[in-house]
């Protein structure tokens, strides 16, 4: 327990230091955040264009799809804020700087995940939050404390699921130096998939992304419960409550894959 508290305290210190560094160039930072905020609406513009052509996507209205978009993009943007630098992780394997992590007196995954904290992701976070607020204002929800809880829980478990996916797939970098792009197919691909109702995808793709790469549990199942919709795929209501367990399971898988990958790591350096 003391170890966890100690780790958390260290993380907070690291984040504070990084914030100080990244806020040095104030105007560049502000421009960056505003720019990302505007440009992140691009994906959402596609959804709006789709709905100028059809009234519904499957059985989902524009506001309901916006809810899926809001939840999954907010969870992903928060993930990106905390561990977005994993995108550059394969580079540390290639140039051998990962060796430095191995000799430090903390767990390797802790060192890698806390290596950066990119505050400029605030632009994307606020864009996703705006869409989420728009969605919540435009869908008819019969609010109960359970529904509010599922919504809040969806964001937390969403972040956990995305972190787990990212860590799991980035381990490819231990075997090939081309890990980044393949990892992107699962991370960016995962969030793109989760922006739309899962029932529009074909069965093989749905099963893969619902149960193997569990992005269906980021937004789809929680949203079904929040909206009081029946699952067109026929899963019972409890599917909306198991997201936290799915997230924990995914995190355990990620942790074991990481440990296994690090054990197999042979440095390229001499």
């Amino acid at each position: 327990m003391a170890e966890i508290l100690d780790g958390a305290a260290l993380y907070l210190r690291l984040v504070r230091a990084r914030l100080r560094a990244q806020l040095q160039y104030r105007s560049s930072f502000v421009l960056d955040v505003i720019g990302t905020f505007v440009i992140s609406f691009l994906d959402f513009v596609v959804i709006l264009i789709i709905f100028t052509n059809v009234p519904q996507l499957g059985s989902w209205s524009v506001a309901e799809v916006a809810l899926l978009y809001g939840i999954s993009c907010l969870a992903f943007a928060l993930t990106d804020l905390v561990i977005g630098h994993l995108d550059l992780f394969p580079q540390t394997i290639r140039d051998g700087t990962f060796d430095l992590v191995l000799v430090r007196p903390r767990p390797t995954l802790f060192m890698v995940l806390t290596a950066d904290f990119q505050i400029r992701r605030l632009g994307r976070i606020s864009q996703a939050a705006v869409v989420l607020v728009y969605a919540l204002a435009n869908v008819s929800i019969d609010w109960t404390s359970e529904r509010a809880l599922v919504l809040a829980g969806a964001l937390v478990t969403g972040v956990l699921i995305f972190i787990a996916i990212w860590v799991t797939v980035i381990c490819i970098a231990f075997w090939t130096v081309e890990g980044r792009e393949v990892a992107n197919a699962f991370t960016y691909g995962g969030v793109t998939l989760a922006q739309y109702p899962i029932d529009i995808y074909d069965r093989w793709m749905r099963s893969f992304f619902a149960y193997v790469v569990p992005v269906a549990f980021v937004a789809y199942y929680p949203a079904l419960f929040i909206l009081g919709k029946r699952d067109p795929l026929g899963l019972p209501t409890w599917a909306s409550f198991i997201s936290p367990f799915v997230a924990l399971g995914a995190a355990l898988v990620a942790l074991s894959v990481w440990r296994w990958a690090v054990r197999h790591y042979r440095s390229a350096g001499g």
Binding site: V45, I50, P55, Y196
Partner: protein, 270 residues
């Protein structure tokens, strides 16, 4: 005359180098094809969901829409939609000085290399995702050799236009210390207005009108519309002429802006 032939031989040599530069990284190609294919499936199912409501949208039936998806996934690298910063980096690092003392025109050499690169990407990043898509969906394949000829001409013009646009926004590095903002804006404009994210004919009228005022539809939408048979006869010739017009105008603009930049260029020697 022999000067002219010699300069053509030089172009060909540049094109060959452009091709070879990407040929030497087959693992990157495989990883890229994987990512493009995953996104191809995602986009195909989203578009297909629209056809549950209407048989034809924006002149595309379901088969044409799915063909559009796989064709655009294959064209991402061929026309190099995002992230080309070669010239910007050479300007920033000062390597551009070396290019300027060479007895070749940097723009012409750049175009020749880029066409060589595009050939590699068309074959190895363009065709594989399309073939994989064709195993799952029924796709349109033109039967007339004339359509193929028009399509290939259109793609060459699309690469040329895309190259001129990339060259233009890269030259912003002569004036700006940080080209990231320009890169992001250009990437966004290209993604949406080229019809890459969703066909231009799906746009609401006012947005489609704005798109057609820009050169961007010439990069993706025109070649795709030729391939799926939406552009035929006089419309096709007009579209090719428009592409040619944009290619000439943008190459001239690229040349003048580059010359302006060179005039104010100062490289710190060492």
């Amino acid at each position: 005359m022999s000067d002219f032939l010699a300069s053509l031989r030089l172009d060909l040599e540049h094109a060959r180098r452009g091709y070879r530069r990407y040929e030497v990284y087959p693992a990157a190609t495989i990883a890229g094809v994987f990512v493009n294919t995953v996104f191809g499936f995602l986009r195909a199912y989203v578009l297909l969901a629209l056809y549950a409501h209407r048989p034809v949208i924006g002149g595309y039936d379901a088969t044409a829409a799915v063909t559009y998806t796989w064709l655009t996934q294959g064209m991402i690298m061929t026309v190099f939609t995002w992230g080309w910063r070669e010239l910007a980096l050479r300007i920033r690092m000062g390597d551009i000085a070396t290019d300027l003392v060479r007895p070749v025109d940097p723009l012409r050499a750049g175009l020749a290399m880029d066409l060589g690169r595009a050939l590699y990407h068309a074959i190895f990043r363009g065709i594989p995702p399309f073939l994989i898509g064709a195993t799952v969906f029924s796709l349109i394949l033109p039967s007339s050799p004339l359509v193929w000829l028009a399509f290939l001409t259109s793609v060459v013009l699309a690469v040329t236009i895309s190259f001129a646009i990339r060259w233009l926004y890269n030259t912003s590095s002569f004036w700006l210390l940080d080209d990231r903002g320009v890169m992001i804006i250009a990437g966004t404009a290209i993604s949406i207005f080229s019809g890459f994210m969703i066909p231009v004919s799906f746009f609401p009228e006012w947005l489609a009108f704005i798109a057609h005022l820009t050169p961007f539809p010439s990069i993706i939408q025109v070649p795709v519309d030729i391939f799926v048979g939406r552009l035929t006869g006089p419309d096709l010739l007009l579209a090719l002429a428009t592409q040619l017009g944009w290619a000439v105008v943008l190459l001239l603009a690229a040349r003048s802006v580059f010359a302006l930049g060179v005039r104010r260029l100062v490289v710190q020697g060492g």
